[in-house]
């Protein structure tokens, strides 16, 4: 709002209000204005590719050839004595992986044949094989991954990041959520602002209809007529502001202007006509299986280009309790093109260094077999596994072509360089220039943080 027009619009009502107060009112702070980080940052944005349900690490990133000799037989008790699983009993048989792994790129990062796209960007990603979490069920696991606690009601990482850094975008929300596949276990709790102001909650971009709920004008309301309505609303609100002088009124005037800018800029965001055919194909938009996730990956890049701080892609479901081989293949076919194209494309555009990409689920899957139909060997699947699973990161100050951490020969437990979910969160914040110990919010008499009472930065995976 232009102060001069604001003032000239006042026919009366200034009363004893000082000019300075009105200026102050008109400048009501925008909670999403960019804020300075705690320290110099490599990453400006985050794209979290959330593979909901728990991808199978020993079929994708962490080969366990030793499982072959136990295949179909219960494992020695030394491996399974402390095992606590969601469905499977510890005496269940081992399940070897039929996947073919190979060292890829210059760096030799080992990736499964189910992920040919990712194999081609091996030198740009860092595979962490030593992730661990406490939760063995989906929703608690997702809460821990995103909010740092298995208790409900805490803010999620996207909310923390926009709270800490604001957003560079003036026309789009700072924290955007995209989804593909079925619904997730966590639903809205994965992108909630918890006890932070709701300004910081994730805004869902929908797959059909309006990309943002209620973005379009109602039927029969043209752009001009919407603008005319907004102008009248603004004039009346300004008169009200002049009468009352409450800065909250100025803030509402601003939020209506931002809403209008969102309406205007969203179509441009969604318009892929200036993307080349090669780009669209690279993201898998030419293929039914990969189109939905690929579209979201391309949107994620476009959002980051436009200054959006945190983009979360949720892809459900990787929860392969049964028919592992078939279902995992389907998930990989749907997502491999999109995720690998995203890394390539960000790199091509010079955005990879300033964008941290994180790929993974709330936990991994067991080396032992879960079978719900004993007469059909193809029914075999894997249960939830929290004590050693894989994720990968790329860009944003993370080293490429690296494999970090190790699990034991059967993949039950971590033998080197454990990375807890809180460590991942601390590292993500660090890349963004935020100190996870300092990014706090006082609630119920306590300074809460994303990493709860834990969190160590995983320095070996960071560029110097």
């Amino acid at each position: 709002m232009n102060r001069r027009t604001l003032l000239s619009n006042f026919g009366y009502g200034l009363g004893n209000m000082a000019l300075a107060d009105l200026m102050h009112a008109a400048d009501a702070p925008n909670p999403l204005a960019p804020k300075k980080p705690h320290h110099a940052a490599k990453a400006k944005s985050v794209i979290f590719l959330f593979m909901e349900g728990g991808p199978s690490q020993m079929d994708l990133f962490d080969p366990k050839p030793a499982l072959a000799k136990h295949d179909g037989k219960p494992l020695p008790a030394e491996f399974t004595k402390d095992l606590k699983l969601a469905f499977t009993k510890p005496n269940a048989a081992a399940l070897a992986s039929p996947r073919v792994f190979k060292p890829c790129g210059q760096s030799g990062v080992v990736i499964s044949d189910y992920l040919p796209g990712l194999q081609s960007v091996a030198d740009d990603i860092c595979v962490v094989r030593s992730m661990h979490t406490e939760a063995i069920n989906h929703h608690p696991g997702q809460l821990l991954l995103f909010s740092g606690s298995i208790q409900t009601g805490r803010p999620t990482s996207g909310a923390w990041v926009t709270y800490g850094l604001g957003s560079e975008s003036k026309n789009l929300p700072g924290f955007v959520v995209l989804s593909s596949g079925s619904g997730t276990s966590g639903g809205a709790s994965n992108f909630s602002s918890g006890f932070l102001p709701s300004t910081y909650q994730g805004t869902i971009f929908r797959n059909s209809g309006d990309p943002i709920l209620y973005l379009s004008n109602p039927d029969g309301v043209s752009r001009d007529s919407q603008r005319a309505s907004l102008d009248t609303i603004k004039e009346l609100n300004e008169e009200h502001l002049a009468m009352h002088g409450d800065p909250e009124i100025a803030a509402r005037i601003q939020s209506y202007e931002l809403a209008f800018r969102m309406q205007m800029s969203a179509p441009e965001l969604l318009d892929f006509s200036n993307e080349s055919k090669e780009t669209l194909d690279m993201y898998g938009l030419n293929d039914t299986a990969s189109k939905q996730f690929g579209t979201n990956c391309l949107l994620a890049r476009r959002l980051v280009e436009r200054g959006v701080r945190y983009v979360m892609l949720m892809d459900a479901s990787w929860d392969t309790h049964t028919e592992l081989n078939k279902k995992l293949k389907a998930k990989c076919d749907q997502t491999d093109k999109g995720s690998s194209a995203l890394v390539k494309d960000l790199k091509r555009l010079g955005l990879l260094d300033s964008t941290l990409v994180i790929w993974g689920g709330e936990f991994g899957r067991t080396p032992i077999c879960e079978i719900r139909n004993t007469r059909d060997p193809e029914n075999a699947g894997r249960d939830h596994h929290p004590t050693g699973y894989s994720m990968w990161l790329a860009g944003g100050g993370v080293k490429g072509g690296m494999t970090y951490g190790e699990t034991d020969e059967l993949g039950f437990n971590i033998t080197r360089d454990k990375v807890h979910v809180h460590d991942l969160q601390a590292t993500m914040l660090h890349c963004l220039g935020l100190d996870h110990l300092k990014l706090t919010f006082r609630h119920l008499g306590r300074d809460f943080r994303l990493t709860d009472i834990g969190g160590n930065i995983v320095k070996p995976i960071l560029k110097g």
């Binding site: 969601a86 929703h139 208790q151 639903g187 909650q201 379009s216 008169e239 719900r372 004993t374």
Partner: protein
């Protein structure tokens, strides 16, 4: 770990060690900063002999005669981070360790004289002191005296248009009609204001308005939460109780007793049991593979924290893992509080509303006979018996049959007390129905592969569904009762239920006056509302104040502890609290006292000179401008457009929800759109599906109902603008308002006046009317121009705020 016997080599005398002379000085030097009179980390006190032998929350620290088995020595000699003691600084010397080791090995004797009393704790914190009634005669007197000390003057009374809109929105959550406004503006009688208050307090919409903040505290929702997020078809029965109780002005002490322990009241009624549904609003994780012990523990934590927030204004949650850092509230106190709820169990009961029983009893014999006939026809008794045997067998032999193992896990997650029911011989009708229903819907591996049986079961289910749909079943309620197994409560070390510490019995926090009578939940409820409890009345009046002024006298209405804000007017808080108790805990009387005051009636006009001294308007030199709560924004547009369904209480409704919202939750949308009149019920009745909440409620700051919420935030976002501008609800209401005003006023000028009156409760100023006319002229070719005008009015800042 270094082994203690090695220490003998280094020359400590093998003579018996004397506690006072040899051992105590070591503890004094190295331990009592954290384990002494001031602080007892993890419940352990080392400055006192008896306490040492009793140990801390993990149990006994010392096994007399066996140093090697004593936790005390294990920790002192460990080098494992997180376990070793002291946690930082130099290790104990070998000589010190030898002394302690020998003292334990020789019997760990302590002299009686060092035993100190460790019972009641004292605190100087203001909130724990008794409520003291100040001499002041009115709340205005206290507010004005405080303003005077800051050399501030109060604001004048607001005009009557503002007053009636403020009052009706605050008491009923609805805007006034133009007729109500005119009547009040023209009412010259001296008690016009009081009569208006009394009229609104008597309206049944009062309960709907005031249920909302209470339901926020009770974290009310219509679904379980977590992955499965199953719908709770009878959750509304508790909300129904709350609305009725508020409309009946049930005294708050009674309101408390019934919700905390209605099941334990002598001769308790169905309604009193329904009230305990407060505790059932907690989330339930029915994910098939859920860790049941962990899930129940999380529920108990949630229940304990909710009760502490709601009645005591205490952030007890901190003490789940350790002694409270700032308040005199130990981890043991926390688990003593939790024990009240650990000793309770979930019970579902029939809770029919008036008029349900007759048709039910009439239809019951035929319904039962028909059901039995169907079950027999489809051989369910035999099939189910076979299945049950397999299930019990699998339960007794885990790991033998992977397929049945899965069904055991799955049934346990989705049916409360599944294994207890499965093993029970004499099931009640209700219990038998639960098992049979589960079996017919989930026949499991035994029959899944039998195509014929599967087809038959499907046929049966269809017939049963049809039969059920015509049967006038009774409304049920989710309540609590005494737990049959009488579980013992243990302190969870570091808040982890997998590390149980010592056992505790139910009890009230010792920093507060003692509980009377036994240690039942009912005694606890009585303790909460005992006249000498310094917290409950203060916390309750403070939240009421917050609803009328946007800010509590204690701003942190959820935290009256040391980390919370201090009261802006301590005297006022006590004046209101004592007045509240003296008026037999009447909430309506409390509300009337507040809205009768001159402080409440002030204009909300912003004053820069006041804002400079008091930016948050804590001192109330003016009224506050308050954003209308999410539900009441909906209620207002429906009311104004005359589309609101005025029905009070009853089931939740699912108004239109755009496609793609409900689908984000696990297993697809659970939204079954309500059609007809019920789609236009008030916001408080909107079905709250925890994982996919209703967008209007989310956008306008309604809490997510996972934890107790004592105050809503008030945000101001572009999504709110889009919601008000483009949500079909508001467009439809704008349309209805255009139709309404067209019928009520003819000439354009009169029609603007009417529409403005209806939405904002006052006539437009000339300048405002001019702006609206300008819009009308410019858009005159648009046939929907009056809808457009209504839409503008619904989007004004003044409309979504109350002055």
């Amino acid at each position: 770990m270094r082994t203690p016997h090695l220490l003998l080599l280094i020359g400590v005398s093998a003579a018996a060690q004397d506690f006072t002379r040899d051992v105590q000085p070591i503890f004094k030097r190295r331990c009592i900063a954290c384990h002494g009179a001031g602080m007892q980390t993890n419940g352990l006190r080392l400055d006192d002999g008896a306490s040492i032998l009793r140990g801390g929350y993990s149990g006994s620290a010392v096994v007399a005669g066996k140093a090697a088995e004593s936790i005390l020595l294990k920790r002192l000699t460990s080098s494992e981070k997180g376990f070793m003691m002291p946690p930082t600084g130099a290790r104990l010397t070998a000589e010190e360790l030898a002394v302690i080791s020998m003292w334990i090995n020789s019997g760990a004797a302590v002299p009686a004289s060092t035993i100190a009393s460790t019972t009641r704790r004292a605190s100087n914190h203001w909130a724990f002191q008794p409520v003291a009634r100040p001499a002041a005669k009115s709340l205005d007197e206290i507010v004005r005296a405080r303003l005077a000390t800051e050399k501030l003057t109060p604001s004048p009374e607001a005009d009557r248009y503002t007053l009636i809109r403020r009052l009706k929105l605050d008491l009923l959550g609805l805007p006034p009609s133009p007729e109500e406004v005119t009547a009040f503006v023209e009412d010259k009688s001296p008690n016009a204001w009081e009569r208006l208050i009394d009229k609104f307090l008597a309206s049944p919409h009062y309960g709907e308005r005031w249920a909302r903040p209470w339901l926020d505290l009770a974290r009310y929702a219509d679904s379980d939460g977590y992955e499965k997020d199953q719908v709770r078809p009878h959750a509304w029965r508790y909300r129904h109780w709350v609305i009725n109780a508020l409309n009946d002005d049930m005294p708050f002490d009674r309101f408390t007793l019934e919700q905390i322990a209605g099941d334990l009241l002598p001769g308790s009624t169905v309604e009193q049991k329904v009230a305990t549904g407060f505790h059932r609003n907690v989330l339930v994780n029915r994910e098939a593979g859920v860790d049941r012990a962990e899930a129940r523990f999380e529920q108990l934590i949630n229940r304990t924290n909710t009760v502490a927030t709601t009645w005591l204004g205490l952030t007890a949650g901190c003490a789940q893992c350790h002694d409270h850092k700032y308040d005199p509230f130990s981890q043991k106190d926390y688990y003593q509080l939790l024990a009240f709820f650990n000793e309770a169990d979930d019970v579902n009961i029939d809770a029919p509303l008036a008029g349900e029983m007759g048709p039910y009893l009439k239809a019951l014999p035929a319904y039962r006979a028909e059901t039995e006939k169907l079950l027999t026809e489809y051989k369910i008794p035999e099939l189910q018996a076979r299945w049950e045997t397999k299930m019990r067998d699998a339960y007794a032999n885990p790991g033998r049959d992977a397929e049945f193992d899965f069904w055991i896990t799955s049934m346990s997650a989705s049916v409360d007390h599944a294994m207890r029911l499965l093993h029970k011989k004499d099931r009640t009708q209700r219990e038998g129905d639960i098992v049979t229903n589960y079996f017919t819907s989930n026949p499991g591996p035994e029959f899944n592969r039998d195509k014929e049986v599967t087809a038959k079961l499907k046929e049966l289910r269809e017939k049963l569904t049809k039969l059920n749909s015509g049967f006038p079943a009774l409304t049920q309620a989710y309540t609590i009762g005494v737990h049959q197994d009488h579980p013992t409560t243990h302190i969870a070390i570091r808040g982890d239920h997998r590390s149980p510490g010592i056992a505790v019995t139910p009890g009230a926090p010792p920093v507060l006056p003692p509980m009377q009578g036994d240690t039942s939940r009912l005694s606890f409820a009585k303790w909460l509302v005992a006249p000498d409890n310094p917290l409950t009345a203060r916390v309750t009046v403070n939240r009421a104040w917050q609803e009328f002024f946007g800010r509590g006298i204690v701003k942190t209405s959820e935290d009256f502890g040391a980390t919370g804000d201090k009261p802006s007017h301590p005297e006022l808080l006590d004046w209101l609290a004592s007045e509240f108790m003296a008026n037999r805990w009447s909430m309506k009387a409390l509300h009337k006292t507040i809205v009768m005051s001159a402080t409440y009636k002030q204009t909300s006009r912003y004053r820069a000179e006041v804002a400079a001294v008091d930016p948050e308007n804590a001192l109330l030199a003016r009224q506050s401008r308050l954003r209308i709560p999410a539900e009441n924004i909906r209620d207002s547009v429906l009311f104004i457009s005359q589309t609101l369904s005025p029905e009070i209480g009853g089931k939740s409704v699912m108004p239109y929800l755009p496609k793609g919202v409900g689908e984000l939750g696990y297993g697809g949308t659970k939204w079954r759109e309500t059609m007809g009149r019920d789609a236009y019920r008030r916001g408080v009745y909107i079905h709250h599906q925890r994982t996919t909440p209703y967008p209007l409620l989310v956008n306008f700051d309604a809490p997510d109902s996972s934890v107790s919420c004592a105050r809503r935030r008030s945000s101001n976002t572009p999504l709110q603008a889009l919601n008000l501008l483009n949500d079909p609800l508001f467009v439809e209401a704008a349309n209805a308002l255009a139709v309404r005003t067209a019928a009520e006023a003819d000439a354009p000028g009169a029609r603007i006046d009417r529409m403005f009156q209806l939405t904002l409760g006052r006539p437009p100023r000339a300048t405002e009317k001019e702006k609206l006319s300008k819009y009308l002229d410019a858009q005159s070719r648009d046939p929907q121009v009056w809808t457009g005008l209504a839409r503008i009015l619904f989007n004004l800042d003044e409309f979504v705020n109350r002055e």
